[in-house]
Amino acid sequence: MTHFLEVSFIALMLSSTYILIAVGFTLFFGAINIVHFAHGDVAMLGAFVAIILYGTADALGLIGGSPIWVWAPLLAAAIAVATGGLGLLFERTIIKPFRASPMLITLVATVALGIIVRESVRLFYPQGSNPQVFPNLFGQSGIRLGELYFRTGHLVMLGLSLLLIIAMILLIRRTRIGLSIRAVSQNIEAASLSGINPDVVIMLTFFIGSILAGVAGVLIGSYYSMIKFDVGLMYGIKGFSAAVVGGLGNFYGAILGGLTLGVIETFASAYVPEGMAYKDVYAFLIVIFFLVFKPSGILAEKQYEKV
């Protein structure tokens, strides 16, 4: 039983990273119908930004000199703004020029962007080809429940990610901003006729999506105590798969897709003999299975093709 609970917690952590990245994919697709293959690398950048900003704050004496409830939110806000800004920069420079072009071009352009981002980190960050140690804020402290031991750091990150996802849901469903995002994703012309500036909404979507990716990056960094320049590609592919399996454009679908993928991968590794070598095979087989039987994703709305 403890083994099962332990594996479940691991699956939950992995799913959270996929969900945070999948939400971005689904938002971008909903807004402008594109697949952003460099989104996973934005998550990686988020982790690097966190390392850099933390190091700067430490050097400036902020970490030691002020209580955690002062510097932590400030640092978090700085990381969020920086990552969101980077994501927005990518959208303005690489994605916007291809808005009128077929979807494939944007896809290849973002693949190229992803390569540039990865290689830039590898070439220009000191010792970039090697894994970078991620600052450990909570040490070894944790909560013991019987035979299981949960690190404080992991719990905090998990809690924060959950809070963020809930905040996102509230934003989309309860606020004017969310309303305009939903309007633009449903029908961009009608939305602009209603007085919404679609370009601003798109920028907002990318800003928010990239912040979430940045949080995913910090989650990854703290959960594994390290970050490497090339982790973004696989997370991007898996995040994209999660979003598609859940239903592209559907927010809850991204959550469901992320959970599905995370659970399959983790449980296959833990329970299937020699499962770990094939964990990605199982995950992608499930993706194919879902797509063949639920062609537009698990939670997709009925597709009506207009003649």
Partner: protein, 379 residues
């Protein structure tokens, strides 16, 4: 007199293009490479922006179509002779040929039916592994193995196309992506595919007593052995192109285009939408399989690394950078994206970074490709 003048102009222009190409092939040093790339970009921009220029060129080409093609064909055949003391360059030509074949197949599939295929590396890989396993385990000759590899690819392409019955567009592209990733993982993990160390010891093909591994002496000039494979892949590219043209001009091609333009209208016309979609997949996959077999026999060693996901993306990029729907454009795209990473070896660790930047700049400058498609001529 005017006719002779226009013929000379056409051949002259072509020859200039050929000279630039050969110069690019032997160029070293970042400056020279960037200069050539810049020139190509400028040329394509000029053609794109000024309608009169492109129309004038097109008319010139149409007027003396057969001659222009013959001159171009002669050049392509003569390349190994021009570069006969540079085996590396001939090897690069062969590699470019492989990718031209893959790209033409993909362009054909994507352009005709708008079905995105991220599994090119897998069909290519299945062809290669079939060839390797059959020749290493059973000792079968290349000429028997070649069509079998094509068939293996075709079979796999058929399976790949089955989800098209229900899934569409992005969802289908994700299915092909997932399949591509699964095939790579299986090739790497299964023991009978040789695992990560792949399969070694594939012999070179022999034809009538002479071995492909030996150099060729034609007209008194000694050609490096890589030329043998170059001519082989040229033959395949030619066959592929002819088949593609034939299909395009036939009922099948019309059906494909109808499906691309409006699927519901097409099915209302009585077109078997799913059947034609699957056909697009397996036709493309057949040629990918052939190319895979040729690759396996040329290098003598294959491993899963050759067939990773990124290769599928690169082939898609070749089609897009060159110009989807325009075979000439696709050929240019494939050749460029094969040669550029090799030419960039001069910058060592910055190679991949610079390559991605160049690709991005090309796409930003020419979003529809260097030589975009001309509309179908219903002549």
């Amino acid at each position: 007199m005017r006719k002779v003048g226009s013929i000379l102009l056409l051949l002259g222009l072509e020859s200039v293009g050929f000279a630039v190409f050969v110069a690019f092939m032997v160029a070293e040093g970042l400056g020279a490479i960037m200069a050539v790339l810049f020139g190509v970009l400028i040329a394509s921009l000029a053609l794109g922006r000024t309608k009169r220029l492109s129309e004038a060129l097109r008319n010139l080409f149409e007027e003396h179509r057969k001659l222009a093609i013959a001159w171009g064909g002669l050049f392509v055949l003569a390349l190994p002779f021009i570069l006969h003391d540079n085996p590396y360059a001939v090897h690069m030509l062969f590699l470019a040929g492989l990718f031209v074949a893959l790209a033409i197949g993909l362009d054909f599939q994507v352009g005709s039916t708008n079905l995105v295929n991220f599994a090119t590396a897998s069909t290519y890989g299945i062809g290669a592994y079939t060839a390797a396993l059959l020749s290493v385990s059973f000792g079968w000759s290349f000429w028997i193995v070649l069509p079998l590899s094509g068939l293996a690819g075709m079979l796999f392409g058929f399976v790949l196309g089955l989800p098209t019955m229900k899934t569409k567009t992005y969802y289908l592209s994700l299915v092909t992506m997932a399949v591509g990733l699964i095939i790579y993982l299986l090739l790497n993990n299964l023991s009978w595919t040789g695992g990560p160390n792949g399969i070694a010891g594939i012999p070179t093909p022999t034809i009538g007593g002479s071995d492909f591994a030996d150099g060729l002496t034609v007209f008194g000039i000694e050609l490096p052995f890589q030329a043998n494979f170059y001519y082989l892949i040229l033959a395949v590219v030619l066959v592929e192109y002819i088949v593609a043209r034939r299909l395009h001009m036939s009922k099948v091609g019309l059906a494909w285009n109808a499906i691309r333009d409006d699927e519901i209208a097409a099915s209302c016309q009585g077109i078997d939408v799913t059947g034609y979609k699957i056909m697009a997949f397996y036709t493309n996959a057949f040629f990918d399989g052939l190319v895979g077999a040729i690759y396996a026999f040329s290098v003598g060693f294959i491993s899963p690394e050759n067939f990773a996901f990124m290769l599928s993306v690169i082939v898609i990029a070749m089609v897009l950078v060159g110009g989807m729907g325009n075979t000439a454009g696709v050929v240019v795209g494939a050749v460029l994206l094969t040669l550029i990473p090799e030419k960039l070896q001069v910058v060592e660790a910055y190679r991949l970074w610079l390559f991605a930047i160049i690709m991005l700049v090309m796409l930003l400058a020419r979003p529809r490709g260097l030589f975009p498609q001309l509309v179908r001529q219903y002549r």
